[in-house]
């Protein structure tokens, strides 16, 4: 995958490009040879990233997060812990939020991936992005793309009536601040902007209490 023309030249772009060049290999997909000798096995995968089909030939070990950051050069999703504990890597796959660090790119062949870049643009913010700005829902901003993708997933889950640990009634799920706090527990903010993050999500979700 090479979409260099879309990215203005920056230190970040050059670093991402260097990593991509180093790891793309060309051996056939689904190779059955034992991986002890020679280059690591690769596989070809098509991901629909933010509405655009992208073909990747990747070392099978490549996580969805690394495919997005290092190969598609979408550096919005962040690598925090790389073990599914911090939520900075959260993206939407077929509309559902997941930790992109804990899944392999090859497992998502044909699926729709939405990253923060697909939710909104600087000149056309997603309502959650605008609300995070209005409510000061961050300090350093590192966790913010994951927080916003997770929040988009949370609002969809609430709309679908998916219960949570704090739902008093499993059958009648009501959107409350408590529900938001529980549902956002997989997204850590070391700056501690939690209360403003909840206010921002509540505003977009029309959640009063």
């Amino acid at each position: 995958m090479d979409n260099e023309e879309l990215i203005p030249v920056s230190r970040r772009g050059i670093l991402a490009g260097g990593a991509a060049t180093a790891t793309i290999a060309t051996t056939p997909a689904a190779a059955q040879a034992p991986p002890a000798e020679g280059p690591p096995p690769t596989a070809t995968t098509v991901l629909k990233v933010n509405g655009k089909a992208m073909t990747f030939t990747l070392d099978t070990r490549t996580t969805l997060l690394d495919a997005l950051r290092e190969h598609a050069r979408l550096t919005g999703a962040k690598k925090g812990c790389d073990h599914g504990q911090c939520g900075a890597c959260t993206v939407l796959v077929d509309g559902r939020r997941i930790n992109s660090c804990l899944t392999l790119a090859v497992m998502h062949d044909g699926q729709e991936i939405t990253t923060i870049e697909g939710l909104g643009r600087p000149d056309d913010l997603h309502p959650l992005q605008a609300a995070f700005v209005a409510h000061d829902g961050y300090q350093c901003g590192y966790c913010t793309p994951g927080q916003i993708c997770s929040a988009a997933g949370v609002l969809a889950e609430l709309k679908a009536g998916v219960p949570s640990h704090v739902s008093p009634d499993l059958d009648e799920v009501k959107a409350t601040h408590d529900e938001l706090r529980e549902r956002m527990s997989g997204n850590i903010c070391r700056c501690g902007a939690y209360s403003n993050i909840i206010d921002a999500i509540a505003e977009v979700g029309g959640i009063k209490a």
Partner: protein
């Protein structure tokens, strides 16, 4: 992470055949635990068999009034299923008490049963661990063991099983259905599915090499208060110190009680269930018979009793 080859299979029989061809291969579904362990090279399969496209993501009613939960049903979908919410609320509650929203969207029913312990020494390749490296010793016995087992442990391993879901399934007497690499199928009662560590803590379940879980079957619903109470170090997104899955009938009939956070498998003592009417002290006394604690985890015995008190109180409400 060690390099591996990868293939995607379309049917359970293909999955089983692929496993037969590659004895060291691992099945991958949600991957939330397996990839975590592969990054640390605690797991290093040379081949991954991706089973995500198998037709095992449905929940269907069984002839005898229960539910057959496909192995690939995601934790979120199982917890949110209308039939599970209504008739097996203890299972919904247990699932929702576990992990984070992102992980529940990915983690599967079968994978949840097969997740590995979060014992800190299992996760630390620089330290001995009989589960990770058989025969190397157990660092936890004299190490940091505050959250480790007080029941059913051995001098080889005091790890706990981390699942919440499995504790509710134990209370509900679920059955695990599998297919062998040669195509044979079998049904394993959940009581027998997970093993105690004994002298082989690296062998955690009854599954044979290459045997694939296809479904978990719940018997017909049990009426009563369905409760899952989990006590942990923070309010959300943490493993249990102690958890209780309970189904307590309103008419005073014996209920069901299974415990998490105490052992290498969900813990259930039928004799303790007969004593619910006598109160939490009596139940805890029977449930914890044979408990062996360390100075760090001795608090769990009292925490079991207090958690039971809260559960029994809630059941009366």
């Amino acid at each position: 992470m060690k390099p591996f080859t990868y293939e995607r299979v379309a049917t359970p029989a293909d999955a089983a055949a692929a496993a037969l061809k590659n004895p060291k291969a691992k099945f991958i579904a949600g991957g939330t635990n397996l990839l975590d362990l592969m990054k640390l090279e605690i797991e290093a399969p040379p081949h991954l068999i991706d089973i995500n496209r198998l037709e095992l993501a449905k929940i269907v009613e069984t002839d005898d009034g229960g539910l057959r939960i496909g192995a690939l049903v995601r934790n979120t979908d199982l917890a949110a299923d209308r039939r599970v919410r209504k008739d097996y609320a203890v299972l919904s509650r247990a699932l929702l008490a576990g992990a984070s929203g992102q992980l529940r969207n990915k983690a599967t029913t079968a994978g949840n049963l097969l997740q590995r312990t979060r014992c800190p020494y299992f996760y630390d390749p620089t330290k001995p661990c009989n589960k990770r490296t058989p025969g190397s010793g157990c660092s936890a016995l004299s190490g940091f063991n505050r959250n480790l087992a007080i029941l059913g442990a051995s001098d080889q391993c005091i790890a706990t099983h981390p699942s919440d879901m499995a504790v509710a399934m134990r209370a509900l007497d679920a059955t695990v259905e599998t297919i062998h690499a040669d195509g044979r199928t079998r049904a394993i009662p959940i009581a027998d599915f997970h093993r105690l560590p004994g002298s082989t803590p690296s062998v955690e379940t009854e599954l044979a090499p290459g045997e694939l879980i296809t479904a978990v079957v719940l018997p017909k619903p049990i009426k009563g208060a369905h409760i899952y109470r989990k006590v942990r170090d923070r309010a959300s997104y943490a493993f249990a110190l102690v958890s209780v899955a309970a189904v307590i009938p309103k008419d005073g009939a014996p209920g069901r009680l299974a415990f998490g956070g105490l052992a290498h498998k969900p813990w259930r003592v039928p004799a303790a269930e007969q004593r619910i009417a006598e109160g939490p002290k009596a139940v805890a006394q029977t449930a914890l018979a044979g408990a062996r604690t360390t100075p760090q985890n001795a608090f769990k015995t009292e925490l079991v009793e207090r958690t039971l008190a809260a559960v029994i109180e809630q059941a009366k409400a």
